[in-house]
Structures are given as C-alpha cells and as structure tokens.
C-alpha cells in the first residue's frame, strides 16, 4: 500500500478554521491527510503540542493562523510566528526535517489556498517518507520497556 503521511493541523478558529470550512462548503478537493485540531488562536499553540504530535506518530504538523495584522486577538499570530522561529531550530536539532513543520497564514476567504497547502505538504511528506523516531521512545516515564531496543555498540 502506498504510504500516506499523517499531518496534524492546528487551525485558528477565526480565520484558518473558517477557511478550511469554506474549502469544504465550496467542495474544493484536497488530500485527506490533515487531522484538524481547532484552537482559538495560533498563539495558543504551545511548542509542547508540536512535540506531542510528533511523538504520537504525526509525520508533519501545520499551524495555520490569521494573516499578520488580522489576528482576532490583535497579536496572537505574531506570538505564533516568534515561537515558530525557535521551534524550527529545535526541531532541526532533533533531526526532524524542515518540511515536517509549517506555519501558514490562511484567511477565512482562502479555502482554495488552504486546500493547496494541504496538497503541497502531503506531497512533500510523501516524498520524504515517514518520520522515524528512535525505537524506544515512550511517552510514559518509567522503566525502559524493551532493553534490547537500546542496542549496545562496540567500537574498534
């Protein structure tokens, strides 16, 4: 079976979620790979959410908010933008490729743009393949479930 990436989308209530809704009501076709989570503002998206998404099996994460200057809460999207700058660097250090994390501005009238963003990201991630996290990664702190997962190495 062909590989289908899983993308988690955090969409702001006022612009991007409405834009995605518009894509739906206007029957604009796009790839079904995005799992949408509605948030009140892109500024609400804590970096913890992104890490949790990747750790839980997402191949990519897309954060969508209002265009700069259009935020319902005046500057929530600016906060998202600032956070994203450091988040990108952190993800790179974790070895998670740039294409797996995107921040995009989608207004309430941009259903078409939203659909194309989902298509583009899906295509990019398909090419990239699944996100391969280390095998013994566990969200639950406690004894390592499988000691052989951390294989020993011998140099020399």
């Amino acid at each position: 079976m062909e590989y289908e990436p899983t993308i988690v989308g955090f969409l702001c209530n006022w612009c991007s979620y409405t834009g995605a809704d518009l894509a739906g009501t206007a029957r604009i076709k796009h790839r079904p790979n995005l799992r949408v989570i509605r948030v009140m503002c892109s500024g609400r998206v804590d970096p913890t959410f992104i890490m949790q998404a990747f750790a839980s099996g997402a191949d990519g994460v897309m954060i969508c908010g209002c265009h700069p200057g259009d935020c319902h809460y005046l500057e929530g999207n600016d906060k998202a933008y600032r956070r994203f700058q450091l988040l990108k660097k952190l993800m790179a250090a974790y070895g998670i490729e740039d294409q797996r994390l995107r921040l995009e501005w989608v207004s309430a009238s941009e259903g078409e743009r939203f659909a194309r963003l989902v298509d583009t990201m899906t295509a990019e991630l398909k090419e990239l393949g699944p996100l391969k996290l280390p095998p013994d990664l566990s969200l639950v702190p406690g004894p390592c479930p499988d000691p052989t997962a951390v294989r020993e190495v011998t140099h020399g």
């Binding site: 906060k79 952190l90 004894p143 390592c144």
Partner: protein, 326 residues
C-alpha cells in the same frame, strides 16, 4: 549486644553513573554532618570515597541496603548493570542530581549519533595530536587474561528509564542541606510517598527569586559576559537568557543571586511536560517586535537553542533524543 547495634545501623550505598563527581562532592559538602552519617550508617559502596567492590554488593541479600543515592545518568552497560544490581539490593532508590533525575549535561549527547560522539572524542578533536590517535577496544587480551570495557549505549537515559526509583533529588548538584534532609528522612523513617521529588519546591524559580520583575520586552539577547547587568532587575528583562520561569525552585536561587542566569538544573516544575518547549515559548514571547525581519534577527542571535532549552533535561523531554541517535 554489639551486633544488634550494628544491625540497626543504616545500610547505604552511593554510586555514580555517567556523572562528573559533583554530586559526590556535594555529599562531602555537608561538612561535619558526613561524620554523623558515618556514625549513623554503614557506607557499603561509594566509589569516590570508600572501599567496596561490585562483588561485595552482589553478595548482599536482596533489600539488604536501606538507601542508595544514585547520581549520574545511564550512558553505558556498566551504569545499567550497577543500577539494576543496586535496585535489587536496596529498599529505597534515590535518583540524585540532574543526571539521574532528568539526564543532565551528559543527556545533551542525545542530540548526536554514537558515531558522531565517537569521532568527536577520539578522531576529530583539536586536542588530539596528529598521528597520535588511540582508539578504545571493547576487549583486549593481555597476559593476565581478557580486559573488557563497558559498551556504549545508543542514548543517555534517566535512572527511572532503567529501574524503579522511589525519590528524585534534583539539582546540579543538589544543595547539601537537601542531601542532609533526605538522609535524615530515611534514618527517621519519615518518608514522603514514593515517586516524590524531594528537596525541591512545587513552584517555579521566579517565585523565589528576589530580583524586581516588571514588563518583559526584549530587543536583544545577551550572554552573561556581554552585558553589565543591573543586580536588582530580572535577568530576562535585561535580555539574559534565564530559565527560571520553566524551572522548579528549591535550589535557594543560587545562580540568579550570584549574577548568573538559571540554567534549569532542577528540571521542570510539576505539570510541565517538556521544559525546553516551555523555555522557547517563554523566550519568544518576550521579544518586543511585530516585524518578521526584526523577530528573525533577535531570535536568530540565540546560539544553540537545543543547548539552552534542554541544558539538563534532553532525555526527559517528550522526544527524548534526536532521530540521529538511532
């Protein structure tokens, strides 16, 4: 009679995994109290200070020890083997110090693969003389027999990733007063519920920090040596990257009180899942700009975001280690 008194003595072991030895020194920093410990307890194993061999521990009955203070992370097969051995032999296991608690400085190695670490340590390193490369081998046959060194694991893990741990005593190193308190608690049987973080508070460090806090609006970040700081004012407000807002209090605000920013060694406060995630969130929210270019410039000047975000806690983060470390 003498024997009964002997038996009442507390049986303790102190061990180091992947550690620098600072925790052991912190135990000695309890000053004259260490003599009380010696009177109160039999120290059955403490590689830094007393004699005692692994074979002696292996010969013990299960649960023969009352307390193990384990400092250091689990980096190699020896760390893991002794952690498992001591776990069997003790009633109470304490993960002492940042390394055992959340991975510590050695945990930063989780950003890299084993090969990268090996090459950096033995091949590509400015302190290696040309033509004088010495590589370790896992086994070496000598006249007396075969010598072995421990095997290097793929990643650094916390003590609690390997064995069950009763208490966590954070800090790099933990404050001597808190070490004292833990020893006294075990001696008197006055123990908190298992799984507790002991010798620390449930609040963030900022809560205990005496510096004045006003509005945080930063247009440039500084490293401590790049700026003459105001000793009264919040370090973050002055643009110095301080992890106080995402770090558990309990250290006595030792660093900010001496003009150094908090580096996060006590780990995240309760209910924070990922210290580094909260750190970048806090840092980026104080940048005073709404202009994309300006934001990129201000935040772009921060070197080594990973190192700042997880200086002590990479193995305790949600993602735990880089995809390179497989």
């Amino acid at each position: 009679m003498a024997e009964t008194v002997e038996k009442k003595k507390l049986q303790i072991a102190i061990y180091w995994g992947a550690a620098c030895g600072g925790c052991d020194v912190a135990i000695l920093d309890t000053d004259a109290f260490i003599l009380d410990v010696a009177a109160l307890a039999d120290i059955r194993l403490w590689p830094l200070a007393v004699d005692g061999k692994y074979a002696d521990v292996e010969a013990m009955e299960d649960d023969e020890l009352d307390l193990v203070l384990f400092n250091g992370a689990v980096r190699n097969s020896e760390n893991q083997k002794i952690a498992e051995l001591l776990r069997r032999k003790t009633k109470v296991m304490v993960a002492m110090g940042s390394c055992a608690h959340i991975g510590g400085i050695p945990g930063l190695a989780n950003e890299f693969s084993r090969d990268e670490i090996f090459n950096r340590a033995y091949l590509d390193n400015p302190s290696i003389e040309e033509g004088n490369v010495v590589l370790p081998v896992a086994e070496k046959k000598v006249a007396a027999g075969t010598l072995e060194i421990p095997h290097f694991h793929r990643a650094v893990r916390r003590l609690s990733d390997v064995v069950e741990v009763e208490y966590f005593l954070p800090g790099c190193p933990p404050a001597p007063d808190q070490i004292k308190a833990v020893l006294l608690a075990v001696a008197t049987g006055n123990l908190p519920p298992a799984g507790s973080v002991v010798g620390a508070s449930d609040r963030a460090l900022c809560d205990e920090c005496g510096r004045s806090k006003d509005e945080k609006k930063v247009t440039r970040f500084f490293r401590p040596w790049q700026i003459i700081q105001d000793p009264e004012k919040c370090l973050l407000e002055q643009g110095i990257l301080c992890a106080g807002s995402v770090t558990r209090a309990g250290c006595g605000v030792r660093c900010p009180d001496s003009g150094m920013p908090c580096r996060g060694c006590y780990g995240p406060p309760p209910n924070v899942m990922d210290q580094g995630a909260k750190f970048i969130s806090a840092i980026s929210s104080i940048v005073e700009s709404r202009d994309a270019g300006e934001i990129e410039r201000v935040l772009g000047e921060i070197p080594d975001v990973m190192g700042y975000a997880y200086r002590f806690g990479l193995p305790a983060s949600i993602l735990q280690r880089s995809t390179r470390s497989q």
